[in-house]
């Protein structure tokens, strides 16, 4: 699980072009949206694509996304349970 979280942090930094961040800067429980990393609506859509492309998870309802993408921890939990890749 630890590896998955590290992997996710690295992927998010790369995919979302978070230029000045390293994986060390993102805590497992940091809010990804709102006041934490400050991701926006396009970032949320990118994360949905990332889930599909890298983990084979298609969200049935994209609105579920907000809960899943609360933090690295919640994302990792969800991926662990649902990944097909």
């Amino acid at each position: 699980m630890g590896n998955l979280k590290e992997e996710l942090k690295a992927k998010i930094i790369e995919t979302l072009n978070l230029e000045d961040l390293t994986t060390a800067d993102i805590a497992d429980d940091d809010a990804l949206f709102g006041d934490g990393l400050g991701l926006d609506s396009i970032d949320a859509l990118e994360l949905i694509v990332l889930m599909d492309k890298d983990y084979g998870i298609r969200l049935a309802d994209p609105k579920e996304g907000r809960a899943i993408f609360t933090s690295i921890q919640t994302m990792a939990d969800y991926i662990e349970k649902n990944r097909t890749k």
Binding site: D40, S41, I42, L45, I48, V49, P62
Partner: protein, 382 residues
């Protein structure tokens, strides 16, 4: 019309209109279809990766049959044929001089050619597209291409009016068009922006857009006697908020309307109807209701044509203006298809049946990616 600096500006009129859509190859057929509540949006089988996608597509066969009647030349893309067909009836009897200009509006032009990645860059170039159309009709002047997301079609009208006011050009033809393509479908799909039903502008159960394609054309000049409408006021103000989501306060659209009304010298209460953008996304329709409310336009009849045609991107602003001009002259407010119950936070007045009404002024608005907005006011020429 006097400007802020006291210069007399020539009045500008739209004198001829035409459109081509899946519902018909001329204005009359289209207006009657809209009055009857017809929709062009059906499940398409052309895109294997999007097997259930709902689209408004024009018949390839119809395009070719009609194009062959006006030209035997074969090296035109489907979009070019459509644009030529739309312009043809309004240009064919005109004298093209060094004071005649073509303004072309499109978001993606011949983007379908990109599929063949070996294509040279020049094939998809928008300037090349415009020059081909211009050459077909014998234009001497360089065409002006407007490519400004989904406001392009109505912004092109604004640009044409401005050209007639700042130059000694005498006539401006505007053509606007976009095609449905995998390029665009896949993009909007990645935005989760598309509905799995015929779209429902302003409705509480709206789920997103349908994509469509169309071409429209108009002719503008300073001659009142052949005019259908006068272009009274226009503005295109940015939201300065987000590149894909509209301003929550409708800032850009609101200021655009304020400026258009200021230039026109008329009051919101004088409007007969608003031909709005109404894409049926959660955010766009909500933003519009807020902007219209701020302009004291909550009682003015509004409609969207996106459920009849889908979102035709660079064509939409002009297509919807053309049909609004026709409606104005038929003294009718067009019904807003897809609407049952309001799902926006500010009051709006939407009719689902045609309303007979003597109308003098109407407003056309549009909004698009990049935070752009355009508002143009029109007055009937009797």
């Amino acid at each position: 019309m006097e400007t802020k600096n006291g210069n007399m500006m020539n009045a500008v009129y739209i004198s001829q209109i035409n459109c081509i859509t899946p519902l018909g190859f001329d204005v009359q057929t289209n207006i009657e279809a809209v009055l009857e509540g017809k929709s062009a949006i059906v499940k398409s089988d052309k895109y294997p990766l999007f097997p259930d996608v709902l689209l408004g597509e024009i018949s390839d066969e119809e395009i070719n049959i009609r194009f062959e009647k006006i030209s035997t030349e074969s090296n035109f893309s489907r979009l070019e044929k459509l644009m030529i067909l739309a312009l043809y009836p309004i240009i064919k009897d005109k004298n093209i001089t060094e004071k005649t200009v073509l303004v072309l509006s499109t978001t993606k032009g011949n983007i379908k050619l990109l599929k063949h990645l070996e294509s040279s860059v020049s094939e998809v170039n928008l300037g090349k597209l415009a020059r081909k159309i211009a050459r077909f009709f014998g234009f001497i002047t360089e065409p002006i291409v407007v490519s400004n997301a989904c406001v392009s079609g109505i912004l092109a009208v604004s640009v044409a009016k401005r050209i007639l006011q700042f130059s000694d050009n005498e006539q401006v033809f505007v053509v606007a068009g976009d095609e449905v393509s995998e390029f665009v479908i896949s993009g909007f799909n990645s935005f989760q922006a598309m509905s799995d039903e015929v779209c429902r502008p302003y409705d509480k159960d709206r789920k997103g857009i349908n994509l469509g394609e169309a071409v429209a054309a108009v002719c503008l000049s300073k001659e009142k006697k052949s005019g259908l409408v006068e272009v009274l006021g226009d503005a295109s103000i940015n939201d300065a908020n987000h590149i894909s989501g509209p301003s929550r306060t409708g800032e850009g659209l609101f200021i655009s309307m304020q400026k258009a009304f200021g230039e026109a010298g008329i009051l919101p209460s004088q409007l007969g109807f608003i031909s709005a953008h109404g894409t049926a996304t959660l955010y766009n329709d909500e933003m519009e209701s807020i902007a219209f409310n701020r302009m004291n336009l909550s009682e003015t009849p509004i409609f969207s044509l996106k459920a009849n045609y889908g979102h035709t991107l660079g064509a939409s602003g002009l297509l919807e203006t053309v049909l609004s001009i026709e409606a104005l002259h038929r003294s009718v407010v067009l019904p807003s298809l897809g609407f049952e119950e309001s799902g926006v936070s500010k009051p709006i007045r939407v009719f689902t049946e045609p309303q007979t009404e003597n109308i003098r002024y109407f407003l056309k608005t549009a909004s698009g990616f990049g935070g752009c907005n355009t508002a143009v006011l029109f007055e009937k020429v009797e």
